[in-house]
């Protein structure tokens, strides 16, 4: 089937085409899903190498399940996020205690000239937020990343994390409160407005 045509098809249809040996379906699926899964795993693990391993393993499991995929039971992307979540959770458990980075441990941005101040503030702000996010408890971080970075709706997050809707809302709310608290002392320097949580 032509690549242009494939690009318009839903994930589930592409998976069926892959299972029926369509050579281009896998490529279209990969281009569509891999950036999301890699970004998610990277945000949870904080390590590119590990995130790539998780993304590759999750995609491999998708290829393996293709022939037995039951249409309508789950969304492909949701299923993939769930697999990635479990793989990341396994790795985080293996690490035992993840060395939590304190906000003060964030790499300092080199002092530049006045013209670079806006860019430096933005870089500093991203670094501070990344560090604060990494310091969240694993489940809160998963919920916040799925909700506010991956843009999943709460019902899908509930499926991915295998929890109820109320638990999703609680985790995201607590996560955001923790982020706000972690960044509170540096709000003015980082360019946040007050009462943003």
């Amino acid at each position: 089937m032509a690549r242009d045509t494939l690009a318009d098809l839903p994930d589930e249809t592409l998976l069926v085409l892959y299972a029926n040996a369509d050579p281009d379906a896998a490529r279209v699926l990969m281009h569509r899903l891999l950036p999301r899964i890699l970004g998610y795993a990277g945000r949870l693990l904080g390590d590119r190498g590990e995130a790539e391993d998780v993304a590759q393993e999750a995609m491999l499991r998708l290829w393996r399940v293709a022939r037995d995929w039951r249409p309508g039971e789950a969304q492909v992307a949701t299923w993939l996020y769930r697999v990635a979540t479990n793989l990341c959770t396994d790795r985080l458990r293996r690490r035992q205690r993840r060395p939590a980075m304190a906000l003060d441990d964030a790499p300092d941005v080199a002092d530049g000239g006045a013209g670079a101040e806006a860019g430096l503030i933005e870089t500093d702000r991203m670094t501070a937020l990344t560090v604060a996010l990494a310091a969240l408890p694993d489940r809160q971080r998963q919920a916040v990343v799925l909700r506010h970075i991956e843009g999943l709706p709460n019902p899908e997050i509930a499926v991915v994390m295998d929890i109820g809707l109320e638990a999703v809302e609680s985790l995201t709310a607590r996560g955001k409160r923790a982020l706000t608290a972690a960044l509170a002392g540096r709000k003015q320097a980082l360019g946040y407005e007050d009462d943003s949580g």
Partner: protein
């Protein structure tokens, strides 16, 4: 990345989270994943299921009698009957001699007077 599903009022923190830089898949990772996908299309787990083998004559016969167990039971009973008939164990022989004493024919003509029948017609 914007968040099209968000229902909360957007705020600075939401916007900052959505704007965090993401990992971009390397060419090497994409190549590995495509290699997995290609291998999968030739692997056993991606092939269609093997067609069911045709049933042999013994399986069809067993099916006729209600399965292999039933056929085995009937076979055992048949063999036991033949064995009893051939060996004639003493208790069986004594029983048949009592039951058939004086009335057992020495021989049975299964086609009586065949020649006469043809001769009359």
């Amino acid at each position: 990345m914007t968040n099209p599903h968000a229902t909360d009022a957007p705020d600075d923190l939401d916007a900052a989270l959505a704007a965090l830089p993401r990992l971009v898949p390397s060419a090497d990772l994409q190549a590995r994943i495509m290699a997995d996908a290609a291998a999968g299309q030739g692997a056993a787990w991606a092939r269609p299921p093997i067609a069911r083998r045709r049933r042999g004559p013994w399986q069809r016969l067993a099916g006729t009698f209600g399965g292999g167990g039933a056929l085995a039971g009937m076979s055992f009973a048949l063999m036991a009957g033949v064995l009893l008939g051939v060996t004639q164990p003493e208790p069986v022989a004594a029983l048949t001699s009592v039951l058939l004493a004086g009335s057992a024919p020495d021989s049975v003509d299964l086609l009586p007077d065949g020649d006469l029948f043809w001769a009359e017609n």
